[in-house]
Symmetry: C2
DNA sequence: CTGAAAGCGCTAACAC
DNA sequence: GTGTTAGCGCTTTCAG
């Protein structure tokens, strides 16, 4: 049997004042409007009875649930937990709870989950699994629901977004490879329906021009997912094409790991024969062999920033006056998967 | 500006029937009590207007929020995401959402979070971060809140729990080491205030007796946390003690990784000079060098099972008639961190 | 079978 | 300053 909870009414009965007075006495803001004596009497009674406010009732009345929705592709992808902790670190102290949902990068699932979150009356959504063209979240945002996207960016919308400096990351990495003497450099690109994949490919072409590296379209392979299997599949195909290259610049770490797996299978030494680079610097990279050279993005801080921006939007009531774009700095991390070009 | 949501009242107005009739027409159970014609008319109007039920209001009225709380130590620990997906896989299709909170294994934080979840009116809690003695969750359970613990077990309580077969796991691992010729085997034990740490240490002693391995108390070191740093610290201390041993059976993978790190630092070869084993089989072990021999626990399935049991408790209204103990099978995974004893 | 009415626990005008 | 009143959107008696 569930023990019945203490309500304002119970406290009112005990203290002999009206419920609304109790409500005021317990509200740090309204409290000033009340006699100090009554206020303390009420508060004493409250925590003597073990009163705990019913947030459901408050939510119904105020239309604010103090809950935010967080959408990610998949929590088992190690890149996301630190982001979630970053979000939590700013939202939780303020009394917000978050409902985390996994979209599995499926369009149908994603749009259904947007509705699930709305039904639950979330005050806002941090969307780290948005698609470049994403009607469901765009609609929600257009209808006034505070939304921020993270890592991704929804085109043709006014949704604020927090991303990494993809341009700088790719540029630094390409320069690193060039400085090691590499000239024929393949790009293991990500899915082009995700802004990350698209931006990094564009950055690769741009950096190529800037650094005087000849970008051969035949050395660009597009993965359909950001995972190891796709990384391996793409590189296998590239090797079979017979094209020559001495380095692989991958659009993310998981693709890079897949690539290394594939090379190992073909008895091609990394970094001896082919250098491989990643992007993201996910946890555990330090433990792997060879340790992957990559671009470090600020995972925890990205979560924090997105949460802070969401707060701004929620407080302002709209994304007016909130920075549309936030670009976080990245950093080159050189490890053992890159070496001087020997060919 | 937030577009106002369609409510039952709106549908009532359009269809010309009373709100309560609308409510019934939309409820799959109550629907039978209503003329087919009216029912379909209402439903048509509902999805034409784009009606979405307000779960907050429903929650207030029915005292069921269709939300469960999930407590874990830390989402960045890779062992937990698969568990969460397991939980989600049974709860989400049924319309439940989960609020995930990280306790960071801090007692104060943990008990505060229990209250946070209760304030939000969760229908139940899956607790994967419980302490052996845990008054806050025990109290909540005693007051009638459905609770299940996962991986951990709260002593002196009737809270149903799902754990792994620690006994079998440790036994298999010790036998594996014995079969490789090891006799002086250290145990890198986990924190003894967590049931996992305590059960695995007890299992180690028991298995030692059963297998005729002499358990030397001097070769048992207790970590204060289940992390790499503690693993390294403990093994460093053990090495400095001058005691001889040829294998380390660790209470979990992270401790084992720390141990390997420490050995590497001291230029002791693993598995050449000392074999090291883990427990849990967390993701990524395949990629590490040396690949860790460990005990595989059923992470996803543990989450699923806990969720199923929680459902039983929630539906039954109490843990009466629900299995108190569920033990999931484990499996020995032999990789490269163990080898024949050479000393 | 459907309408009327009450109320979940709380907040926010509006009175006094 | 504090009590009164009126709902937030929904379910669920109770009538009819």
């Amino acid at each position: 049997m569930l023990k019945k909870r203490i309500t304002l009414k119970d406290i009112a009965k005990v203290t002999g004042v009206h419920v609304s007075t109790v409500s005021r006495a317990l509200d740090p803001v309204e409290r000033k409007m009340i006699t100090e004596e009554v206020a303390t009497r009420v508060r004493d009674a409250a925590d003597m009875l073990g009163y705990r406010p019913n947030r459901i009732a408050t939510g119904l009345r105020t239309n604010r649930t103090m809950t935010v929705g967080v959408m990610i592709p998949d929590i088992t992808n190690v890149i996301f937990p630190p982001i979630l902790r970053g979000i939590e670190s700013v939202l939780e102290p303020l009394g917000y709870a978050s409902i985390i949902v996994n979209t599995d990068s499926e369009r149908e699932r994603e749009s259904r989950l947007v509705n699930v979150l709305r039904d639950r009356g979330v005050d806002g959504i941090i969307h780290a699994a948005a698609l470049r063209s994403d009607p469901s979240i765009a609609l929600a945002a257009a209808e006034g629901l505070p939304v921020v996207t993270l890592n991704r960016r929804v085109e043709m919308s006014k949704i604020p977004y927090v991303i990494n400096d993809e341009d700088a990351g790719i540029h630094q990495m390409l320069r690193h490879l060039r400085d090691l003497g590499h000239r024929r450099i393949a790009h293991l690109a990500g899915p082009q329906d995700l802004s990350t994949g698209q931006l990094r490919l564009a950055a690769f072409r741009k950096a190529g021009k800037e650094l005087g590296i000849d970008v051969d379209d035949g050395l660009i392979v597009e993965a359909t997912h950001f995972d190891e299997r796709e990384g391996a599949r793409c590189i296998k195909a590239l090797l079979q094409s017979g094209r020559k290259f001495s380095a692989i610049l991958s659009a993310n770490d998981r693709l890079a790991l897949g690539a290394i797996d594939c090379l190992r299978e073909q008895n091609i030494d990394c970094p001896g024969e082919i250098s491989v680079t990643g992007f993201n610097d996910m946890p555990f990279l330090e433990w792997l062999r060879p340790r992957l050279t990559t671009i470090r993005i600020q995972q925890h801080s990205a979560g924090r920033t997105a949460a802070e921006i969401l707060l701004q939007v929620m407080n302002a009531g709209s994304s007016q006056g909130v920075p549309l774009e936030t670009i976080l700095p990245v950093e080159l991390v050189v490890r053992d998967s890159t070496a001087h070009c020997r060919s």
